[in-house]
């Protein structure tokens, strides 16, 4: 296996290696020469656009071509818009084309135009001189510098907020070089104007000096910021490369390259836990890797290339080849370095011997075990497998690990298993036809979810589903999501008839969990396929989800019934409001009439908001009873009597129409009462208006208006009983005992005379009470006597009536001080009554 190290080059105490990713599948006429190239990180797509200025005739359209990382063509179309300054990719694989006039066009992976936005009005005049696309935790951003030497930033193109940065003193035209930094949740621009270095943030432009920059330099001509925005590299016209941190506080190293011309590209190459970070500089024919250790590696390039910074290395894309240049991870170095005695290396050797059926295997194994580093060895092999690109090498390492594991009793299986799974996924997406050359490190950083998204975006649905199933991703986030995207794509196929698409979608999606048919339908509707959308909505089990789209498609009636079905009143109300604005009043009411739920909801709303509409609603329904109620309710809010009466008259009319004689009569009487009360108020100055009949009578009787009370009593046919009660209480309250006595004698009381006794007692007038005891009916005699506290009388009455219950009641009221004889008589009477 010596050949594994064949492309390793030492740099300081570490090694750098080139891994060949693909032989490019494209056939380019002029290679990458005269092309504007932009490749997305994480093995993303590559876009090429011929330099327009070099075209002989301006009328000829340059071709824009999009390729996968393996050079498989994904889209190609002639560029018809204005001259492009910069191309770039967003974090979700959309293409950005920044034009000279500051317009940014967004295309998808397949060259379909999505939208555009502008970098501000000022740019239109001054033109964009240079532009950069950058990625930050907030998303993808765009930075430009205009002809007026002003910088404008857009932090996140999905939430566009333009920020114009302050002026840079003494800057004419474009700076010699610049870069965008993201630090402490702030985005800044670092720029060099000759030898001067400035940091430009929202509010100020601060000159800075990197510590220990060699003094020979009189101009900084290129700069590079690392993938993590932590490190900065500056290249000066004296051929010095300065490396340090982006906060310009620490210097890592300075290397003299002996090349004085400006490099075409300069990129950091680091990896997590890097031992020997380096900067890769590219000139026309030369690629130089300059390490912090001040050593360099030189490669000659035989074709035009482009460097793409990655999380753990640099990809070098050429016309014929696509390579990855990275520092050899320590696990790989330990295992494959020549004459390595690392545990992993020994285990690999042991396994090799074991496959050859040689007893040497045992020797190696023993050696590892003696040092008791077998666990370490297995771990190393598993880890190294992740860093290897060739499946054969991966397999060899994993087999060795598996072999070593047999001799360990408690080695946790998870790392091994998950590495096998990850590699299987990675190998399948690295495949030439897919063309996503992800490393294991990048994959872990990016997460499976994002990978699935990217596959879906590339319309590689079967592969995405396979991966989801293989990784046992929960359906909701995995298979279902992919299927939904597939369906959204499917409904856009214009040539297929609605029927077959709907069927295909429903067959494939079936009962998959968490599928939202309404989203798919919405997509169909966006493509102008309303019928298809309605068909798809039928599959949506949650009726609530169907409603918004149905409204959008102007199927409001259907929307209303669906909303009602969902039981969500908010939805119903949404539809009702929509209908109200959309339909004329008559139709609107008719629609509501057929939907009682919506109707009562709307009524509730009207009650608080639009009283008049409520009336119209009842009118429309010929609901005279409710109309009557409506007028009655309105009458109570009215303070003027005339208005009140006229409202009540309307109520009477409505009640009559509703054949509700009772209500009509009651309302009429109320009007009569109101008029009566007003008259009396005017004549006597009583405040009667609004009282109930009962209260009016009471007020009259209390105020000694007996004549008027009599009149009311007759006019309103007040039942005798009520009138007697009323008069009785009113007189008693006034303690008008003479009048009370007269009243009692006026005719036979319809409520008996016990109440007379009781009201007197209540007023603590036993003397008056006694007057009425004799008039009380025999059944109530006992009660009457007891009420005035006449025990003996009560006893007499009870004994006379021979009622056991009543005797007991009297007995219960007796106290120890009661006359003995009386008690005995009562007891005797009770026993005789009981016998009977």
């Amino acid at each position: 296996m010596a050949f594994i190290t064949a492309n390793w080059n030492p740099l300081g105490d570490a090694f750098y290696r080139q891994i060949e990713l693909y032989d490019m599948g494209w056939s380019l006429r002029d290679g990458l020469k005269d092309c504007m190239v932009a490749a997305a990180p994480y093995g993303g797509p590559i876009v090429l656009l011929e330099w327009q200025s070099q075209r002989p005739s301006p009328s000829a359209r340059p071709q824009l071509e999009i390729y996968s990382s393996s050079g498989v063509s994904m889209a190609s179309f002639p560029w018809k818009s204005g001259p492009v300054r910069q191309l770039g990719w967003t974090v979700c694989d959309d293409l950005l084309a920044i034009q000279e006039d500051g317009t940014v066009l967004i295309y998808d992976l397949f060259g379909t135009f999505k939208r555009h936005f502008s970098m501000g009005n000022e740019v239109v005049q001054n033109q964009v001189l240079e532009a950069k696309v950058f990625h930050s935790p907030y998303g993808t951003g765009v930075a430009i510098v205009t002809g007026a030497s002003r910088f404008t930033l857009a932090m996140n193109i999905d939430d566009l907020k333009l920020r114009r940065l302050p002026e840079v003193p003494g800057l004419q035209g474009a700076p010699s070089c610049w870069a965008v930094l993201t630090q402490d949740r702030q985005t800044k621009v670092l720029l060099a104007n000759g030898a001067d270095l400035y940091i430009l943030d929202n509010t100020s432009c601060t000159p800075v000096t990197p510590p220990g920059l060699s003094p020979q330099a009189c101009s900084i001509i290129n700069m590079a910021v690392s993938f993590s925005y932590k490190y900065l590299a500056l290249f000066t016209d004296s051929g010095h490369l300065w490396m340090g941190s982006t906060n310009l506080k620490d210097k890592l190293s300075e290397v003299e390259t002996k090349v004085r011309s400006a490099p075409k590209q300069m990129v950091w190459s680091r990896r997590p836990k890097s031992q020997q970070p380096s900067v890769v500089l590219m000139w026309d024919r030369l690629l130089l890797v300059a390490g912090v250790c001040k050593e360099t590696i030189q490669y000659t390039l035989d074709e035009e290339c482009v460097c793409v910074a990655e999380l753990d290395g640099v990809r070098i894309v050429g016309a014929s080849r696509h390579e990855m240049l990275q520092e050899v991870p320590s696990a790989c170095e330990d295992i494959f370095k020549i004459a390595s005695m690392a545990p992993g290396a020994l285990l690999l050797e042991a396994h090799k011997e074991y496959e050859k059926c040689s007893q040497k295997a045992d020797e190696y194994l023993r050696e590892i075990k003696e040092q008791s580093v077998l666990g370490e060895a297995v771990k190393q092999c598993v880890e190294a497998a992740g860093y290897e690109h060739e499946p054969e090498t991966q397999k060899t390492l994993l087999r060795a690990a598996s072999f070593g594991k047999c001799f360990l009793s408690n080695f946790p299986p998870e790392p091994f298993v998950s590495m096998c799974r990850d590699l299987r996924v990675l190998n399948s997406v690295r495949d030439y036809s897919v063309g996503i050359p992800l490393t294991h490190t990048q994959y872990k950083q990016m997460t499976v979810q994002v990978l699935i998204d990217r596959l879906v975006y590339r319309k590689l649905y079967p592969l995405a589903i396979e991966i989801c199933r293989y990784l046992k991703t929960p359906e909701y986030q995995g298979v279902s999501r992919v299927l939904k995207h597939w369906a959204c794509c499917k409904v856009q196929q214009k040539e297929e008839p609605d029927e077959s698409i709907a069927r295909a979608v429903s067959v494939k999606l079936g009962e998959a969990a968490g599928i939202s048919y309404s989203e798919i339908a919405a997509r169909a509707y966006e493509c102008g396929r309303t019928e298809l959308a309605i068909k798809l909505l039928e599959f949506e089990p949650r009726s609530g989800e169907q409603v918004p789209l149905l409204l959008k498609m102007k199927r409001s009636q259907l929307g209303l019934s669906k909303a009602i079905e969902s039981g969500d009143t908010d939805l119903v109300y949404t539809v009702v409001t929509y209908l109200k604005n959309e339909m004329n009043r008559g139709d609107f009411f008719m629609t509501l009439r057929n939907q009682p739920v919506a109707l009562s909801l709307y009524r509730q709303f009207c009650k608080h908001q639009e009283q008049e509409t409520l009336k119209d609603l009842f009118n429309q329904d010929d609901d005279h009873h409710e109309l009557g109620n409506f007028y009655v309710r309105a009458s109570y809010k009215e303070s003027k009597l005339e208005a009140r009466l006229s409202l009540l008259q309307s109520a009477v009319d409505e009640y009559n129409k509703a054949k509700n004689e009772f209500a009509a009569k009651a309302t009429e009487e109320e009007m009569k009462l109101l008029r009566f009360q007003r008259r009396l108020d005017e004549e006597k100055g009583e405040a009667l208006l609004g009282l109930s009949l009962h209260d009016t009578l009471h007020a009259l009787l209390s105020a000694n208006y007996h004549k008027q009370a009599e009149q009311l009593y007759r006019d309103f046919r007040v039942p005798d009983k009520r009138y007697w009660w009323l008069k009785l209480t009113a007189l008693a309250e006034k303690e008008d005992w003479d009048e009370l006595e007269k009243f009692a004698k006026s005719k036979k009381s319809p409520i008996g005379y016990l109440p007379f006794v009781e009201v007197c007692v209540k007023r603590h007038n036993k003397y008056e009470a006694k007057k009425y005891v004799s008039k009380v009916t025999p059944e109530q005699k006992v009660k009457a006597h007891l009420a005035i506290g006449d025990l003996e009388g009560a006893a007499e009455a009870a004994i006379e009536r021979r009622s056991e219950g009543e005797i007991s009641t009297v007995l219960a009221r007796c106290s120890p001080t009661t006359d003995r004889a009386l008690l005995e008589r009562l007891n005797r009477a009770r026993s005789t009554a009981a016998k009977k």
Binding site: Y476, R542, G544, S561, I564, E565, S566, G567, D568, T569, D570, L571, Y573, T574, T577, N594, Q595, P596, V597, S600, L601, R603, Q604, F605, K607, H608, Q609, H625, N629, V632, R633, Y636, F662, A663, A666, T667, E669, E670, L673, L691, S692, L693, H694, D695, H698, F716, V718, P719, K721, R722, W725, T729, I751
Partner: protein, 617 residues
């Protein structure tokens, strides 16, 4: 004195978690508006809020001043206003006025409206119509459930009853569904759900939908079974006078959010006093479920015990005295204080309730329930109205009469109504219209002929989608069938036997042995039969919509934890009374269940009927 416990009763889950969740969310919402702010609180949210977060907590989160929403112009000087309101149109309208008034005088403030427990589209539309949607930020405080006690949880939505059953406005159904969902995710998964009533069914469906949408966690269930019941399934029970201590306190003093204010006549001082009534109150806990006639005896026994405990002091040496003072005295003092309060309350109630007319009222009620001497009852009611005794009481008796008699005879209906209007004012015409719509007070229909309205409803019911939701009209078609139900379910025990209230033999004790509440009887029967089989006749008379669903395979093992299976969540949609809760507690002790009562609000006859009034809407 407590009833003997038949089996080991399972422990109730800890519902204080609900409070903590609500508080944390409220704090989070308040912090969304950093800096000092004035907080305006909807009047009926004040008490529930007080149970969740006290003033100190609010002040800690930079609430400067607290105001009650009073629908008047405001006097706040703060430049940040926060409104904590129910999603009601009137309140939102008021906020619009406040904001627009500020705008008119060029005052700039920040406004935040927190809707509790959720916002409605209508409210947002209103903000939009008034052109202030851009000026305010809105949020939802999903405070659905307030635990009032160990076994009572309330949604504190008294308007549920009127909105849903009278106005046919189903906006709160989803809220009920969400509340159920919350309980399910915290204390579920429920393995069996029973229910009766249209609203229950809808709440159940709304809940299922929310379960489907969310992700599920597998956990051990704390609550196994759920019973949902609509208030309009049984309207008789809440209209009866309550005679169990807790119910009686509610009827007379009105318990608000688990707290009652005793006036000077109870506290025997010149101040009134707010008292929390829950199981923490040892004295109250022992008498709350007792028939009122038993309470006095119990309290005096208790007083004697207390005295003995105090008396222990006399024979003590210094050391014993020291331990007594440090350990027991505080407890005794507290008990003493509570005891004197409850004795005061009992006395005050005694004064009111032992009066003759109350006894006669109870007698009338019992006769109505039994269907006995109806004419006497009618004349009693008539006299009650004619003497202009309490307006609500008169109405209560009228409704009871109508419910138990399946409507009033046309002649009685008219004359009683006319007399009622004379006594209490003609505006009650609207009240009667409401009562009729709800089926609380109706005229007997001659024969079996369908009225126009009923046939209209019938038509709608045949139409599937409409039929599902014609709540407002269904009550018209519905007859109470009380008499038949009572016979079939044995709701009224035979009156010839003496009922010993000290040793209750069934749930009827909560009404002095005169009536077993229909709602609780249904629950008992369904649990006994594990479903509705054998009750077909009953459900037909109640007008159906019953259901019983066993959860799918997701419940790991339905009989896995028998404890959870014996904890039953009963959800009353439209409110329940303390008497019903007492009855369920009794049933639980008899059968070895524990009931957790979830209700849209605690109700009683006065609250039910007051919600029907329309004259000051």
């Amino acid at each position: 004195m407590a009833h003997s416990v038949r089996r080991d009763a399972p422990e109730l889950p800890d519902f204080s978690l609900l409070k903590r969740l609500a508080r944390d969310q409220l704090i989070y919402l308040l912090e969304q508006l950093p800096g000092k702010k004035d907080l305006f609180i909807e009047a009926d949210l004040m008490s529930p809020l007080d149970r969740i977060a006290n003033v100190t907590t609010l002040k800690e989160h930079e609430v400067d001043k607290l105001y009650k929403v009073e629908h008047k112009s405001i006097v706040s000087t703060s430049d940040q206003l926060c409104f904590l309101i129910r999603p009601r149109i009137q309140t939102v309208k008021w906020i619009c006025d406040v904001v627009n008034a500020d705008k008119a005088v060029g005052k700039f403030r920040r406004y935040k409206v927190i809707f509790c427990p959720q916002k409605f589209y209508a409210c947002e539309t209103l903000l939009e119509e008034q052109g202030i949607i851009g000026d305010v930020t809105t949020d939802e405080w999903s405070f659905y459930l307030l635990p009032l006690d160990d076994d009572i949880i309330s949604l504190e939505l008294p308007e549920f009853f009127r909105d849903n059953f009278l106005e046919g406005d189903q906006r709160w159904v989803r809220t009920a569904g969400s509340a159920l969902h919350l309980l399910h995710s915290l204390y579920g998964p429920f393995s069996k759900v029973y229910g009766i009533g249209r609203c229950s069914k809808m709440a159940y469906e709304s809940w299922r939908e929310q379960v489907k949408e969310g992700e599920q966690r597998v956990r051990q269930a704390d609550i196994g079974n759920v019973f949902l019941i609509d208030r309009d399934v049984d309207l008789v029970t809440p209209l009866c006078s309550q005679v169990v201590y807790e119910g009686l306190v509610d009827d007379i003093f009105r318990i608000k959010c688990g707290c009652v204010e005793f006036g000077p006549d109870v506290t025997s001082s010149d101040k009134s006093m707010k008292v929390m009534l829950n199981s923490q109150d040892k004295v109250f806990n022992e008498i709350r479920n007792e028939h009122f006639s038993q309470v006095f005896g119990f309290l005096s026994q208790k007083a004697r015990n207390l005295q003995t405990a105090y008396d222990k002091r006399s024979g003590m040496d210094i050391k014993q005295m020291k331990t007594f003072v440090s350990e027991e005295l505080k407890g005794l003092k507290k008990e003493h204080r509570l005891l004197s309060l409850h004795i005061g309350a009992s006395e005050s109630m005694m004064k009111k309730k032992t009066k003759q007319d109350f006894q006669e009222m109870l007698k009338t009620e019992h006769s109505l329930l039994e269907g006995f001497e109806i004419r006497e009852c009618i004349s009693f009611i008539e006299e009650h109205i004619n003497r202009q005794a309490s307006m609500v009481e008169s109405m209560r008796l009228l409704c009871l009469l109508s419910l138990t008699e399946n409507g009033l005879l046309p002649k009685d209906y008219r004359s009683l109504k006319a007399q009622y209007l004379q006594s209490y004012g003609v505006d009650h015409l609207l009240t009667f219209s409401n009562l009729k719509q709800l089926g609380l007070l109706v005229e007997q229909q001659p024969g079996e002929t369908l009225t126009v309205m009923e046939s209209r409803v019938g038509k709608l019911v045949n139409d599937k989608t409409a039929g599902k939701l014609t709540d407002a009209f269904s009550s018209l078609a519905k007859k109470s069938n009380f008499r038949a139900l009572s016979r079939r379910l044995n709701l009224v025990p035979k009156s010839d036997e003496e009922y010993d209230l000290r040793v209750p033999r069934d749930m009827a004790y909560i009404f002095s042995g005169a009536y077993i509440p229909l709602s609780c009887k249904l629950i008992e029967q369904v649990l006994e039969r594990d479903g509705w089989t054998g009750l077909e006749e009953v459900t037909r008379m109640i007008n159906g919509h019953e259901f019983a669903v066993t959860a799918g395979s997701n419940g790991s093992d339905p009989r896995g934890r028998s404890d959870a299976q014996r904890i039953i969540l009963v959800m009353f949609l439209g409110g329940c009374t303390y008497s019903e809760i007492s009855a369920l507690r009794f049933l639980g002790k008899e059968k070895g269940y524990k009931f957790v009562v979830v209700t849209t609000a605690i109700t009683n006859s006065a609250r039910v009927l007051e919600s029907m009034l329309d004259n000051h809407a």
